[in-house]
Symmetry: C2
């Protein structure tokens, strides 16, 4: 391998880190250098069962990963409540950071992470994989096309999955001390990101939680939704839940075109992804059919989206580390915006659906 590789340390043995470990291994410019867990035994087993390279260091603490001078970057899939501690520490140890979503419990915490990253000149990116899928770029091309899509008028995102009884009892995402934002921080993160993405990251002027938020016994949101409104009358809604079968859809309507996708976060199949568009749709003469018919677009993904994410993150890390370039501020900016809107939804939920103004 001629290309120099960014050496990753992984904090903890989260399930999602299995997918990311594979992605780091597959990325041409990254390698797994270390993993740390509070249990050395657990980390050892985890490394063995997830095809870690034999050279990977196994540590019995997160600190040990951060103290390893060879680690360039850390992937942090820890419970959200631990992000501020470990992301700030990682930055202080000059480790670049790939951070699971939601990036923090609230924007205030996230700003401290960003501040630490800026002070220490490290790159931060959140682990929203679908942003890096080539399909996402193709969809964006369509949405930005004034002739094919026009101006966005409304967008509706749904992300639900049916958590099993064990998840609903024990997963970190239902625990107030671990992932206090529950379904909103998990599935809702993706909905909010998709809505902001389609709006070219213009913030809405207001956010209103929809009636019907469902909490678990500990007070964590397990199902909720919100309506967003922009200055020019653009609207969005989303619904996220742990209580309904896996659904992952976005419907966007512009003045000239429409877009549909039913697997926006995780494509149905790893090696390709589809979406449907229509432009200046109308009806046949007697309104007995559509003319023109919508088009389906399929984008091949020879490299999985999470590998593209790791590759892009590692490229940025290399440019900071080896070429002395500035960090790419786009990524923490998008993370902050997403967290900011999540916070507003949470505030509106807490206020019984009162509209929260963002200006």
């Amino acid at each position: 391998m001629s290309e120099p590789q960014i050496k990753f340390g992984i904090l903890g043995c989260a399930d999602i880190a299995r997918k990311l470990s594979r992605a780091i291994t597959l990325a041409p410019n990254a390698t797994i250098h270390a993993i740390g867990s509070r249990s050395l035994e657990k980390a050892t087993k985890y490394a063995a069962s997830n095809n870690f390279p034999e050279t990977a260091k196994i540590y019995g603490s997160y600190d040990a990963v951060l103290d390893d001078p060879d680690v360039d970057a850390v992937y942090i899939p820890l419970p959200t409540s631990l992000h501020i501690k470990w992301a700030v520490l990682a930055a202080q140890k000059k480790k670049h950071i790939l951070l699971e979503k939601p990036v923090a419990l609230n924007v205030g915490e996230f700003d401290k992470i960003v501040e630490a990253c800026e002070l220490n000149g490290v790159q931060m990116m959140d682990s929203t994989m679908w942003m890096h899928n080539p399909r996402t770029g193709k969809m964006k091309e369509f949405i930005l096309d004034p002739h094919k899509f026009g101006e966005l008028r409304s967008i509706h995102a749904v992300f639900t999955f049916a958590a099993d009884p064990d998840f609903l009892e024990n997963d970190i995402r239902v625990k107030p001390d671990l992932d206090a934002l529950g379904a909103l921080g998990d599935a809702g993160w993706y909905c909010v990101r998709a809505i902001l993405w389609a709006n070219d990251f213009q913030l809405p002027k207001s956010v209103t939680a929809l009636p019907g938020t469902i909490f678990n016994k500990a007070g964590v949101i397990i199902s909720c939704g919100a309506a967003l409104l922009w200055e020019n009358g653009k609207t969005a809604t989303f619904h996220c839940s742990f209580l309904a079968n896996l659904t992952m859809s976005v419907t966007a309507s512009g003045t000239k075109g429409s877009l549909h996708i039913n697997d926006f976060v995780i494509p149905f199949e790893e090696n390709k992804g589809s979406f449907t568009t229509s432009t200046e749709s109308g009806f046949t003469e007697l309104v007995t059919g559509w003319a023109p018919l919508p088009s389906q677009h399929t984008v091949m993904t020879d490299v999985p989206q999470e590998v593209l994410m790791v590759t892009e993150f590692s490229r940025l890390v290399k440019s900071v580390k080896n070429e002395g370039l500035a960090v790419e501020k786009k990524w923490p900016t998008l993370s902050r915006m997403t967290q900011f809107v999540l916070d507003a939804v949470k505030t509106s939920v807490d206020k019984g659906g009162e509209t929260v103004n963002l200006d």
Copy 2:
């Protein structure tokens, strides 16, 4: 033709009546007997250019149609503000009624129409064509299947179309004295019907208009949305608008399954219709794809949905007329329920998004 045919009178020369005229002609148990317009010349031209049978009577008034003793049933595609007058008169003249949507300006008016129909023993049905598509039956089978779909948890409907400047200036649907409910009464009717349909016509406990209603200069709604909530925490949202490209989607999530359709009101193609379902969807081991994959279902529609609607309406009319059977109350009941929810959305819009309780 051996089958005795229900003789239709058509009130007015609305564009939509062209599609319905064809449907009446294609239905095996119906025929166009008469059309009436305030302009005899207009009605004559309309009949000629829409392949009316040569025997069709052309009248210079709506009254003349109602006074024709051979007319069994009338199709009323008049502006909504005229429904109460002409539907009540038609019932009093013992004409069965196929009524365009929205059925009235409000439930109070509609109740007077229903009362007149009941007093005079005439069948009433609203002209929501997609209800009669065989695809709709197949989708209902799926939604009612406890193993494939489970219990409905949320449903999201969108129906928008990009009205041209002439429509936005002159169409009856933007005029406060003609179709005062605007986009809500037009595109919104279909969204509300789909939501109620998927809920097996259980009324929600509350309705909340979403922020961002857009009115035209005359105060008619041209874009709006609402959130609906049921006792058991089920939720729904819809968005309807004259200001965005044709979009016609429903996403429904149950505890065990999901359903997607992007052409629920008017199928993309006249002779077939598709929808997508998934059941107990999950991910591949490393969350790099879905398992199982969703399934697409295509239902052939050798007979267009509006023809099936006219055929079913005519069958009911015949059973009342020739066999002395009671009218089918299901249809006015569904109309009333849809109108009732529309009214609640309008009330919530008028109150700036205040939640309207329906119990």
